[in-house]
């Protein structure tokens, strides 16, 4: 891997990986720290409140966060977050498969934003 340019914004993708799934109009995104040492940072940065606040038009319902401490993972359940679900969404990605990269694209340093 090449070193990131100086002053590059560090994002969740730098320390974690993720996969999104859908059931009805509910999306879930599981996020895993590559390194156990980064899990505390991941937990601090990725709060349910931050995710809800960052995507107000997309996530219309509540956001729940489950912590899988021993595997260094977080599971976010995003209610009413699929533009009506695969039945009614006209988004090209009607399953919200790409929502994992919404989370992975969040900055690691502006969790108070």
């Amino acid at each position: 891997m090449t070193a990131p340019p100086r002053n590059a914004r560090r994002i969740v993708r730098d320390i974690a990986h993720a996969r999104a799934g859908d059931k009805g109009n509910t999306s879930n995104v599981n996020v895993w720290a590559y390194d156990a040492a980064d899990f505390e940072l991941l937990k601090r940065v990725l709060t349910a409140e931050r995710i809800k606040r960052t995507f107000p038009d997309l996530i219309r319902g509540k956001v729940e966060r489950y912590v899988i401490e021993h595997l260094h993972g977080l599971n976010f359940v995003l209610h009413d977050a699929l533009e009506g679900g695969v039945n009614s969404s006209l988004n090209l990605d009607s399953h919200g498969k790409s929502w994992s990269y919404l989370i992975l694209g969040l900055a690691l340093d502006d969790d108070k934003a």
Binding site: H17, G24, N30, W32, V77, N87, L90, N91, L102
Partner: protein
């Protein structure tokens, strides 16, 4: 002759999954059971539409090719096949499979057909939705089919009957894996920790390559070797319900703790309460450990009592969806694309009076993430993408015409029109008491 380890593999994780790696898996994998999971919620509804058009159809579109290729190798390897490729018409799928088996000379092969998942006769029109306000009657679209998720208890009798091929419709994904494990190891259906353990193995394997490196690669951070040649997964299962997830030597992909973790909570909400027809599975304390190259051990899944109700997917005829696009590139491509979008929106409403659901994206600027508020400000190579859904096919046809007309009547430099119209389905979920669902078994001999 019965080995202590039960070898179960996946030969399809969705309706359009690959065939050639499944053949390889059976030829070299020494499998006891091969599962082909080919049914999503909406796939069943689409299959019902197919069956309405032709009573001899309504099963998986690739069934013939899959059976022709896999029946001989499964017979040679002594591998039992379990699949929900029957979709909306398991009886026709079994009949077609029987013909193929006979044509291949597989005399004596037993083909089991599991039915009873079609519950359209027992679900009332005013049944309330499972997870939202309202009832089926509120949808206002024609129902195309209703299928209850059948569990392992519907599949075990076919294993007892020593069928070589077991075909059903809406067999629940993990149940197709749990049933042969419970049958081989003599697990009691009331032994909830074992039901949970077997369901974990099913859950991990049901999406095929999503646990062997498929849907995982992210160059630079998650590199996957030889992804084009990715192998399907195998679980080597012990009688206590623990298992090693692996794949064939010589195939691409990878099995690592990371690939297993991503699949562990795929489409799972509360990790301690994953509902299947067989168990309320608890994945919250699962242990995942690498025990060799491309070998990951999973253990410590558990479970509590199964739900008293079964989930039913109700499919409706959702009309038609049209999609059409024109591309713009170079200086001010975004301005020209946005002008094109305004023109289409205006003319569909004002000239044609179309009130259908309409969405217009600029692919390259913001499409998937449009609602999330993320866009690429400097994009200069983009595509206007117009999507419309309507009960009337004519609305979709008019939309395609309007988008194509941009070639001469729209902003400068637009090119590359394409358009298509596809039928739509809509699905809703309801719950019914499990006593009202009566699975049946028929066995045919080639």
């Amino acid at each position: 002759m019965t080995s202590a380890v039960f070898r179960i593999g996946t030969g399809a994780g969705f309706s359009a999954d690959r065939l050639d790696p499944a053949i390889d898996l059976v030829e070299r994998g020494k499998l006891d059971v091969l599962v082909l999971e080919c049914l999503g919620e909406r796939t069943v509804a689409f299959s019902h539409r197919d069956r309405m058009a032709d009573p001899e159809r309504g099963y998986n579109a690739h069934l013939r090719r899959r059976m022709q290729a896999l029946l001989p190798v499964c017979a040679a390897a002594g591998t039992t096949m379990i699949t929900n490729m029957g979709a909306a018409n398991p009886r026709a799928a079994a009949a077609r499979t029987l013909e193929i088996a006979r044509a291949l000379g597989l005399k004596g092969l037993k083909i089991a057909c599991i039915e009873g998942d079609d519950v359209s006769a027992v679900v009332p029109a005013n049944q309330p939705f499972m997870d939202e306000v309202g009832t089926l009657a509120d949808v206002g679209m024609p129902v195309v089919g209703m299928n209850a998720y059948l569990g392992a208890d519907a599949i075990v009798p076919a294993l007892v009957a020593e069928a070589g091929v077991i075909i059903g419709g809406r067999l629940a994904d993990p149940s197709m894996f749990l049933a042969p494990l419970a049958h081989r190891f003599g697990w009691d259906a009331a032994d909830m920790p074992r039901m949970g353990a077997g369901s974990l193995i099913g859950h991990l394997l049901e999406c095929g390559m999503q646990i062997t490196g498929g849907y995982f690669a992210d160059p630079g951070v998650k590199d996957v070797p030889d992804l084009a040649n990715c192998g399907y997964p195998i679980a080597e299962v012990q009688s206590d319900g623990s298992a090693v997830i692996t794949k064939l030597d010589g195939t691409g992909g990878c099995v690592t703790t990371s690939t297993v973790k991503e699949q562990l909570l795929y489409e799972v909400h509360d990790p301690a309460r994953y509902l299947t027809p067989d168990v309320t599975a608890d994945f919250s304390r699962v242990q995942i450990a690498e025990v060799g190259k491309n070998r990951v051990k999973v253990s410590h899944a558990s479970g509590t009592a199964r739900p008293q109700t079964l989930k039913v997917t109700v499919g409706f005829d959702g009309g038609f969806q049209g999609e059409a696009g024109v591309s713009y590139a170079g200086p001010a491509a975004q301005e020209r694309g946005r002008l094109a979008a305004q023109i289409v929106r205006d003319r569909l409403s004002r000239v044609h009076g179309i009130k259908s659901d309409l969405r217009i994206d600029l692919i390259g600027v913001n499409s998937l993430f449009a609602t999330a508020g993320i866009s690429a400000a400097d994009a200069q190579d983009l595509r206007l993408h117009v999507a419309l859904r309507s009960p009337a096919k004519e609305d979709a046809e008019l939309m395609l015409w309007e988008v194509e007309s941009l070639l001469c009547c729209g902003p400068a430099g637009g090119g590359g029109f394409r358009g298509s119209i596809v039928p739509c389905v809509m699905t809703k979920s309801v719950l019914i008491e499990r006593e009202r669902v009566k699975p049946t078994l028929s066995v045919f001999v080639a």
